[in-house]
């Protein structure tokens, strides 16, 4: 039995085994907001913006739709009150990191976020990890990765690899939703890459 039937926002959906809730919703035209999802990359489940509420029997819980596999008989609410409350706060968290980022403006307007809820602590990056995964999965170069952890986490170009691989690529620049990557690259290139010593 390869076909699975579930209910998303009141509509019955037929989905294939191994599809995710996000894919099943998209197949019937329901859009779920995402920041770290990309059709060419493995699902990552990190931004949590695509969280939806599912009901199984009497129990309801919140799951990330980009990684949760479809199940027979599942009831999914993509815009429940709990979901909206969390999405709004996630966008407000990120707004403090990258105010005015285009993608945050788009979703921010939809969910009516309070742009002044948190003081700005600018990093210009929402840590969606698209660049890191694009470089690893599509280009298979692993030139970009993470530095530090927790609130200190940031994206960096690994000098050993990036100094050899990046100069004629730059494909990750286009995938960056905040547009910060070219300047990150420029900074890392100047400060970390190992340039040959010039003798005068």
């Amino acid at each position: 039995m390869n076909e699975i039937t579930l209910n998303i926002d009141g509509q019955e959906v037929k989905a294939k085994k191994r599809m995710t809730l996000l894919e099943a919703a998209e197949s019937i035209g329901i859009e779920i907001p995402t920041l770290c999802h990309h059709k060419d990359l493995m699902p990552y489940g990190a931004c949590r913006l695509c969280t939806v509420e599912i009901e199984k029997g009497q129990r309801s819980r919140l799951v990330a739709s980009c990684v949760y596999p479809v199940e027979n008989g599942l009831t999914v609410k993509t815009e429940s009150e709990r979901v909206i409350k969390g999405r709004k706060l996630i966008l407000e968290f990120l707004w403090a990191r990258v105010p005015d980022a285009e993608i945050l403006c788009k979703y921010g307007e939809k969910y009516g976020i309070d742009k002044n809820k948190f003081d700005v602590a600018m990093t210009a990056c929402i840590l969606c990890g698209l660049c890191v995964r694009y470089c690893a999965e599509v280009k298979k170069k692993n030139a970009i990765g993470y530095n530090n952890r927790g609130a200190e986490r940031s994206v960096m170009f690994f000098p050993e690899i990036a100094s050899k691989e990046c100069h004629d690529c730059g494909e990750c620049f286009a995938i960056c939703p905040t547009g910060v990557l070219p300047s990150n690259y420029a900074v890392d290139r100047v400060s970390h890459f190992d340039w040959p010593t010039i003798h005068f």
Binding site: G45, R48, V63, G86, L89, I90, F93, L94, I126, L127
Partner: protein
């Protein structure tokens, strides 16, 4: 040592071993667990070796360096068998007296015995109130075993559960027995171990893994460490039995690099188990193959999360992934992988040898067996405590822990590690049980138990734990990374006296979302300290925000020190000791603290002679500056 290749050779080996040991031989047992080790138990042990040699007792009296006995507050602990004399706080200098009096003259060194509240001396370890209310079915064996000597474990009945599982039962029966025992995972989640085993067993695939989670990272918690250091074979035996039931031929132990003794004792244990034939091909001639590899962690709290731990074993950065497909089905290298915590594995041999019914007779309806807690903080008897599930918090803190030192009042207890909740005094009669603790907004966690007295500020403590979690969050998912960051910022400003009216509501709003939206259990439980602190100690938060006052007198920005000019005798002691030169005054001139210069270190309060008692600590609006007499 030839490999034990059948049940018969194993049994006769054990019989010879037991027969060769004289139960009347005097043995000096020196606790060499984490706590006692820090109190120089190694030097005590060396002193015994020298003293025995000097007195010509080397061959007649044995020395056994064991793992943790639990009563770490009174280390180093020395027990002398077979009389079972227990000496506490033993220092190398005490050793000659112990040898001459106890060993040569058969007398007791009274001053090293435990003294109860009525001044009565207690000779046997088991009669000390700290141990009396415990039920040490797992940790209790530590005191009889040298962790680097497999024979000690075998003589005690070790590996007989394994033999029973292999030769009297089959994998299905072993699994049924563990399911019937209702054993729940001791690592934090409390998930039924048998159900997890069954999922792994039934998951498709030929290659399956069993894993010991020894990445105990909670501040102040060391029960897994003490088990692995003190009795590694019982963890190993549990793991082999589990592997047999699940159908796995390869195990892993993920242990923190920061536990060097645990790593060493475990490695020795694995080597000895291989030599004896408890690991490797055709274990005890049963046809079952199994071996274990050790993986040392690189020091990340989040790697204790099962999917992150498996990622780390694979050689990548320890980051969790969504477990909508369980690790029991697709874990390490995408193979079915059963992960349990150290204590869970250590419980398995007992369940197999004594039976699920026996195990179920201990504990509550929903939580069976015993649990080891690391009892620390503002409590008289800190140490490791093993009690049956269902015992009340009050019993653990007062009967075993001896209550709060210094005549202070109890304020709260935090169970479950850094992301556990604070439990207030009115809930002290709560039975310790997975579900009961969750109901009041805390959790069992892996068994941390931090006692706080009236001098503890719950705002400041919540801030401390959020700081820890913020540093230990991997940063992958937004709610955990950003939510903890923002909550920490809010708590910082409340502690600094800059809290805003809406901060409590904002903390609650963030906490709810982080709890519901975070990827893994680290983020999912991170808000518990804040939520429970607000739930039970809201007035303390309100005092910080509305009155700019820290009732416990902890938050430096909200306290001030003051010298009462009526009581000050102008003795200059505080003046000389103040590191900030903030105190002025002179001969016959009462001293005054310049609040602008004061660093709030409290030295003046400490050094002011108690007969004067002129220095006091205040919280709230700073005291008006007063001039001298």
């Amino acid at each position: 040592m030839p490999r034990l290749d059948s049940l018969k050779t194993f049994e006769s080996f054990r019989q010879d071993l037991v027969a060769g040991r004289d139960p009347q031989k005097t043995y000096i047992t020196i606790c060499s667990g984490t706590g006692c080790h820090a109190l120089h138990s190694d030097k005590v042990s060396q002193a015994f070796e020298q003293a025995l040699e000097k007195n010509g007792l080397s061959g007649k009296v044995g020395i056994r360096r064991t793992g943790c006995h639990g009563f770490c507050e009174r280390g180093a602990i020395v027990s002398i068998f077979p009389r079972d004399v227990c000496y506490l706080k033993v220092k190398p200098d005490d050793v000659p007296e112990i040898v001459s009096k106890t060993l040569l003259e058969n007398q007791i060194v009274d001053r090293l015995l435990y003294e109860d509240d009525n001044g009565q001396k207690v000779m046997h370890e088991k009669d000390i109130p700290f141990y009396k209310s415990q039920n040490s079915i797992i940790l209790g064996n530590n005191r009889y075993v040298d962790p680097q000597n497999i024979d000690d474990y075998i003589a005690l009945g070790g590996y007989s559960a394994l033999a029973k599982a292999f030769f009297q039962m089959n994998p299905e029966l072993v699994l049924e027995e563990v399911k019937k025992s209702k054993l729940r995972g001791r690592g934090g989640g409390g998930f039924p171990a048998g159900t997890k085993w069954e999922t792994t067993r039934n998951a498709p695939g030929d290659i399956k893994y069993v894993i010991v989670n020894a990445d105990e990272g909670d501040p102040g918690a060391y029960m897994d460490r003490s088990l692995l250091e003190g009795n590694p074979h019982c963890v190993l035996e549990g793991l082999i039995i589990g592997a047999y039931a699940i159908g796995s031929n390869q195990g892993y132990v993920y242990v923190r690099q920061e536990y060097p003794i645990a790593v060493e004792n475990l490695s020795v244990a694995l080597e000895q188990a291989r030599q004896y034939g408890f690991l490797g091909k055709n274990i005890l001639g049963s046809g079952f193959d199994f071996d274990v590899a050790v993986h040392c962690g690189a020091g990340a709290f989040v790697s204790g999360e099962s999917s992150a731990l498996m990622t780390a074993i694979e050689g990548r950065v320890g980051e969790p992934r969504s477990k909508y497909i369980r690790t029991a089905v697709s874990g390490l290298w995408e193979k079915p992988s059963n992960l349990n915590n150290v204590e869970t594995w250590a419980t398995v041999p007992l369940i197999i040898s004594k039976g699920a019914d026996w195990f179920c007779s201990i504990g509550t309806e929903g939580s069976k067996g015993t649990k080891i807690f690391s009892l620390v903080g503002k409590v008289k008897n800190t140490g490791l405590v093993e009690v049956p599930m269902g015992v009340t918090l009050r019993k653990v803190i007062y009967d075993i822990g001896g209550g709060i030192p210094g005549g202070k009042k109890f304020k709260a207890v935090q169970t479950g590690g850094p992301s556990g909740g604070f439990i207030p005094e009115q809930l002290l009669d709560l039975p310790i049980d997975f579900d009961e603790l969750t109901k009041v907004g805390s959790m069992m966690g892996s068994g941390g138990m931090i006692v706080m007295d009236e001098d503890t500020c719950t705002v400041d403590t919540a801030r401390f734990f959020l700081n820890f979690l913020s540093e230990e969050s991997c940063g992958k998912c937004t709610p955990c990374r950003e939510g903890i960051f923002q909550m920490r910022k809010i708590l910082n400003r409340i502690c600094e006296g800059e809290g805003k009216e809406e901060d409590i509501a904002l903390l609650e709003e963030i906490a709810e979302v982080v709890k519901d939206f975070a990827l893994c259990a680290l983020g999912g439980s991170a808000p518990y300290p804040v939520l429970s602190a607000i739930r039970y100690f809201r007035d303390e938060y309100e005092a910080h925000i509305h009155e700019k006052r820290c009732p416990a007198g902890v938050c430096k920005a909200l306290i001030s020190y003051y010298i009462d000019p009526e009581k000050c005798q102008a003795c200059s002691i505080c003046l000389k000791n103040c590191p900030s030169q903030a105190i002025t005054g002179g001969k016959k001139v009462a001293h005054v603290i310049d609040q602008g210069k004061c660093a709030k270190c409290g030295v003046c309060l400490e050094v002011c002679p108690s007969k004067f008692g002129a220095v006091t600590k205040h919280s709230g609006a700073p005291q008006a500056l007063t001039t001298g007499r």
